[in-house]
């Protein structure tokens, strides 16, 4: 999986990362920006203040006006000299008043700075003012005007001083203007500097923000990568990399949505590696794991080659495939067959060629409204059915399967209490000598179910085996049968079936001896029946059991011969005293010469190995006659008697002794 963590070029990263790692930098830059902005505003205010300094023009404008007004006064005075009178006097006085007022102005307002700065301005204004004061008193009294020369001299003096004052004012004004100009320029320069700094700050903070964004993005990408990695781990089976149940359900959900959209069916295929346990046991767990991985690889390739399929591993050797089944595409059985065939090809595991297949159970239904978990359960039921039929089998789910399954489930529940409730009984089927006479009885388990009635062992023993009840049940049957046999005449033997599970027990022979001791039944009257399949499950232990049983006087019969492999090898390896021919051979023995040939061969083979032969499932007189003719010693079946409770058997035995048995001949 690509946990790609997007990282930038490292060189480019370092600077940005270093800056980004200083979280205080950005606020400081922003603070500097704010301060800079405030400073710029302050500078602008200062500049505005300088530019807007009021009344400054008066320094330049007021003195010329004073000069003009002095001249006006002089002209008014001369007019008065030439033609004295009321009107001329009034005009002179008014002109002088205006001049006087102006002289005061040359000291006020903006002129104050001039006076403070310039000694020349101060002294010339003072002298001019002195002259004006002199003029004032003269004009008020109109007394001076007899002496023109003196009056004109005063005016020359006044104008001279005013001109000096004006020149000084202009100089001062020029100097201050220059100073102002320089100051404004300086402030302007600072403004430019601050503005530039501000721009630098802003752009650096932008860069910083960019760096931080980049860093965040990198961190995000890293976190995303990690989360993807963990999501992958959480969603996938670490061994095979296939989706686990959790993630598988997500995939399936999407699949169902798609199928629903096109109104197609959804299929579920369950599979289970056949004899996986055996591979684990014989080649080791590493090989088992390697096999699972190889299995998963084939399944993955297959599911990827199909359009719209989801594959998951539920654990162990259980895999589930789900796919959309379209009307115009492959059908469920095609998918199931492909799985079965592809998985059956040989695997090479750690140098061993392993030939192993899988059992397949499948089901399908319209995607709309389907409940996938239920379909999975159905496919699983079908899978179990397939497994019961043998290896490499395919079973499609049918409605009856669920019923069987349910019944089986119910049985399993009930079976747990059946023993306590006394619902398990022993029935006995007579085994008669074809030459005449009751030889022995076979103890058979019966379950009297409160709802289902009498249930035969072929139905409930597999359930008991799955439920782990078989040992207890077998043990009980052995002891109860031994006790019952004590109530039969001493010449009648007892046959008891031992299950594969019982035979695996190390102390089985001991238990048999114990049952005999408890009941008081002589060992020679007891015979245990062992199926070929039970022998196969654990050959060594069964062989030992047979040896021990035989040693203690108990005889051993090979049950159901012909139903399984009918291996001649087993006949040699397991020295039994008797062979029981499976009912399937007996059925056709009258009609089918080949069946008869097989019976003949088995009988002669048994005799050759020093075994007697009992035929099972004899239902007609014809069969009985024929078997007798072929040299079969004993027989059991409905033709002679059905299995029956002990009390009925005792009656039957008494009656049979009296009447003489049905005989072949």
């Amino acid at each position: 999986m690509a946990a790609a963590v997007a990282l930038d070029n490292p060189k480019r990263r370092t600077m940005a990362a270093r800056a980004a790692r200083m979280p205080w930098l950005l606020p400081i830059i922003l603070l500097v920006c704010a301060i800079g902005l405030a400073a710029i505003a302050k500078l602008q205010r200062d500049i505005d203040t300088i530019n807007a300094r009021s009344s400054r023009f008066e320094i330049v404008a007021a003195t010329p006006r004073a000069l003009f007004e002095a001249d006006e006064t002089r002209l008014a005075a001369h007019a008065y000299f030439e033609k004295p009178g009321e009107e001329a006097a009034a005009r002179l006085k008014q002109a002088f008043e205006i001049l006087y007022g102006r002289m005061n102005d040359l000291r006020a307002g903006a002129h104050r700075e001039l006076h403070a700065a310039s000694e020349v301005a101060r002294s010339t204004h003072e002298r001019a003012m002195d002259t004006v004061e002199t003029l004032d008193s003269e004009i008020q009294s109109l007394g001076l005007f007899s002496r023109h020369e003196r009056f004109d001299a005063l005016f020359v003096d006044l104008v001279h001083n005013l001109q000096s004052f004006a020149a000084e004012g202009l100089r001062f004004h020029a100097a201050r203007s220059r100073a102002d100009y320089e100051r404004v320029q300086k402030l302007g320069w600072w403004q430019v500097v601050l503005t530039a700094a501000l721009l630098v700050s802003i752009s650096s903070s932008l860069l910083l923000a960019l760096a931080q964004t980049r860093r965040l993005r990198a961190a995000h990408a890293a976190a995303h990568g990690l989360s993807q990695k963990y999501a992958y781990l959480a969603n996938h089976d670490p061994m095979t990399g296939l989706a686990n149940r959790r993630h598988g359900l997500d995939l399936v959900e999407r699949l169902i949505a798609r199928a629903e959209a096109e109104d197609a069916e959804i299929g579920v295929v369950c599979l289970d590696v056949d004899r996986f346990k055996q591979v684990n046991d014989t080649l080791g767990h590493a090989a088992g794991d390697a096999l699972i991985v190889a299995f998963a690889e084939r399944l993955r390739a297959m599911s990827e080659s199909w359009t719209d399929a989801a594959l998951m591993r539920l654990g162990g050797d259980e895999f589930v495939l789900s796919m959309i089944v379209r009307a115009d595409g492959p059908q469920l059985i095609d998918y199931a067959r492909e799985v079965s065939e592809r998985l059956a090809d040989a695997y090479e595991i750690e140098g061993h060629v392993v030939s192993i297949g899988a059992s397949v159970g499948a089901t399908s239904r319209k995607a709309a409204g389907c409940r996938w978990m239920r379909m999975l359960a159905q496919a699983d039921i079908a899978l179990r059915h397939a497994k019961e039929r043998g290896r490499g089998q395919i079973a499609l789910y049918e409605k009856g399967m669920f019923e069987t399954e349910r019944r089986r489930h119910r049985m399993e529940q009930d079976l747990r209490f059946a023993m306590e409730r006394g619902e398990i009984e022993l029935h006995y089927q007579p085994i008669v000598a074809l030459g005449g006479g009751l030889k022995r009885v076979e103890a058979l388990l019966r379950w009297r179910h409160p709802d289902y009635g009498m249930i035969s062992p072929t139905d409930f023993l597999p359930v008991a085996e799955d439920a782990g009840l078989i040992l207890e049940m077998g043990e009980w049957a052995l002891r109860a049968a031994c006790r019952d046999a004590m109530r039969l005449p001493a010449h009648i033997g007892l046959s008891v079936n031992l299950s594969a599970a019982q035979l695996i027990r190390v102390d089985m022979a001991e238990r048999v001896r114990d049952a005999l001791a408890q009941s008081g039944l002589p060992a020679r009257r007891l015979e245990v029946e062992i199926t070929e399949i039970a022998m196969m499950r654990n050959e060594a232990r069964v062989a030992r059991f047979i040896a021990e049983a035989t040693a203690s006087g108990v005889s051993v019969a090979l049950d159901d011969f012909g139903a399984g492999y009918s291996s001649i090898g087993y006949l040699r390896r397991f020295p039994c005293s008797r062979l029981k021919i499976d009912p399937s051979f007996i059925q056709d023995v009258e009609r089918d010469p080949e069946a008869r040939a097989v019976v003949r061969a088995v009988v002669s083979l048994a005799h050759a190995l020093d075994m007697s032969v009992t035929a099972e499932g004899v239902e007609t007189q014809g069969q009985a006659l024929l078997l007798a003719a072929e040299g079969c010693e004993d027989a059991q079946g409905f033709f002679f008697a059905r299995p029956m409770p002990l009390s009925a058997l005792i009656d039957w035995a008494t009656r049979a002794e009296g009447q003489g048995l049905k005989q072949a001949g």
């Binding site: 807007a52 009021s54 009344s55 006006r65 008043e97 205006i98 102006r102 005061n104 004061e133 008193s137």
Partner: protein, 165 residues
Amino acid sequence: MGARLTATTTALVVCLAMFAARPAQAAEAAPAGPILTIESRLAPIRQMTMAEIERLPRGGFATRTPWHDVKTRFEGVPLPAFLAAIGATRGVVTVSGLDGYVVDLPVEDPRNAQAVVAYKRDGEYMRIRDKGPLFIIYDYDADPALQTDQYYARSIWQIRSVKVE
């Protein structure tokens, strides 16, 4: 004060006048005769005396100005009342001073309410040399917006005539 004084003592006299002459100034009489000429396109030229002006509504305030060293109290006709009295309702009035200074006053400027056409300074009528007899003064201290060239320029003194549009 008619005595002839030497130039050196004149300054001293001026200084003394600042204090000693004040009681004399307190007796400054209201200018007699017409002091203001009002021209209007719609009415004949007319003239007003100080007594007539003093009959208009009164107002006043103390403020600093560029032309006085200390805070000074002015009394006179509030400018809007003055403009109403001379029949100015819109546009500008053109005001002329004795020294030839001329300025236009917008009639509808709301800041007119902060001005008086002053005829008394510190309780005294003003001589021409003190910018009398009429002096438009704004209450500069009350509003920094008044401390600008615009309003200083409108502060015309020695008012001689007003022309209403």
